[in-house]
Symmetry: C2
Subunit: 357 residues, 2 copies
Amino acid sequence: MVLDLTASAADLTRALCDIPSVSGGEGPLADEIEAAIAAHEHLEVTRHGNTIVARTNLGRAQRVVIAGHIDTVPINGNVPTRDVDVDGAPHIRGRGTVDMKAGVAVQLKLAAELTAPAVDVTWMWYDNEEVEESKNGLFLLSAARPDLFAADFAILGEPSDGRVEGGCNGTLRAIVRTHGVRAHSARSWVGENAIHGAAPILARLAEYRAREIEVEGLRYREGLNAVAIRGGIAGNVIPDLCEVEVNYRFAPSKGVAEAQAHVRGAFEGFEVEFTDAAAGAKPGLDAPVAQQFLAAVGAEAHAKYGWTDVARFSAMGVPAVNYGPGDPHLAHHDEERVPLAQIDEVERGLRAWLSGS
Amino acid sequence: MVLDLTASAADLTRALCDIPSVSGGEGPLADEIEAAIAAHEHLEVTRHGNTIVARTNLGRAQRVVIAGHIDTVPINGNVPTRDVDVDGAPHIRGRGTVDMKAGVAVQLKLAAELTAPAVDVTWMWYDNEEVEESKNGLFLLSAARPDLFAADFAILGEPSDGRVEGGCNGTLRAIVRTHGVRAHSARSWVGENAIHGAAPILARLAEYRAREIEVEGLRYREGLNAVAIRGGIAGNVIPDLCEVEVNYRFAPSKGVAEAQAHVRGAFEGFEVEFTDAAAGAKPGLDAPVAQQFLAAVGAEAHAKYGWTDVARFSAMGVPAVNYGPGDPHLAHHDEERVPLAQIDEVERGLRAWLSGS
């Protein structure tokens, strides 16, 4: 089978979802996409692993990257897709419908259809977004072919409920530790209980009030949370170590160093070890091309909370937004489903802008 | 090799320790003990699994059980034993020296030597004390041959620093749980963090002041401690469950139901699930035979904190004490070592009492 890029975006969404492509198993779907897109002579196609890049070369004044990942989190009895009605509105239900094959379907359809867009477009469909960075197709492509990322603006088709979501929060993780002295629990007074010692850490987390920070007109809501806690050796031993893993989501106005200082301050008096960090992305919506895009799709911009690959573009100096069908709260959810109306809406918005109408 | 029960208790300790018998692997040592003890005609020997029982049948007015376990916790580079000096005093160092092969050595030596003790003696050497109850040799013997437990008094050779330790605290474990609502940590306000919800549990544990309770003249020190804490799903998920495992050590004047009520009260407002419990043992030192024993060994009685198999005898209506060489704080420790002087002291005490001198 070869994907029919003249089908409706809804049918294309069903077809893409029904070819399983859990992270690490994107090969067959990447083959389908490459075969379907290679049939179009207005596109210059490059493949890098399971990432497919298709570029127009029309000599336009501006170039835009439009990208989407083709992998999903594991299937849980929700493939193949089915059509369902929710509150009277038709939806496609199944793994990948929201995150983010409906977005990819719209992109593939417009890539094939728009032979002479108003801006040059670099389409990118990449693998392994749902797993560690070292496997991420966009990351690997940016290392191998940074030239392909030369652009004035980027749009990532991540689910945003059909809204334009600018930039994204940064994220860091840290381990906050307490130490004690091991002892037999029958003689607990000989030891010092590291789990009891973590009481103030949890109290500070419970009392913490996250801030809302305005960046370039968009309001970013932060969050500081324990995502794991562990301690304990055996049922009769006073534990000498307790670890609380915290995740801090911070506004894109802060750099990683500033965010780390904030976390250090929150847990003053405790050992803090930072385990990973990724800066956020400022919305970048003051660029003229971004303003044209907003006007064409007729959408108001909102802040994106979750960290997405827009931050990679931002780090390369390319303003980037998220714009795709589907409710991000349903991403990874077993009830994942996308409303047909949002697929149409995003398709119309992108077509209007790329057509220069 | 057959164990030489005419050797000194110190040499016998070395020999017993140098035959590894980590729980589950006691067979070879049980064989040695059975062969050595079977050579003595004043003893009626019964074997049950890897538990050896040897009884005198002299028609004495009173019968005493003297018992010890032959298994150890795992070896950690500390077998074979070596002779070491600590603060100028000679010790035998190695796994099992304290817990509790020195005690077993004294028992084996006296079992062989004392052909006509002043009381009838039921010697018991059993396996699997260091692991779950369902494997415990004394527990299995009590189920299969309760008749062998008919006695007026029992002495367990658990390490007690050469002192007599009466009874033992009870112990129970419980899981104290908090529930929340799972969410993506980028939108933490949509969820409810169960780890943050556990802050008051840790605060109550940190503030808890354990009591000292006098039972039959001995002071039992209690303890309420977290022995484990767990929570967390992934680095980007607000966790919906946190579990704190607590261990309550309670004085033998309390039954299990009363102890559970105390724990429920300490964590009022939280879900509490009890996972296991064992009542303590009252000292039982008012029995005449116990008083004779105390007088003969010339030791003052103290409270035992840790739960030991004396509670099994207590539950069967047999007053029981711990009396053995070795510092219980060094049990399971990689630096486990027993002073030769304590082996001698316990040997002299037991011999004096059993000889009726």
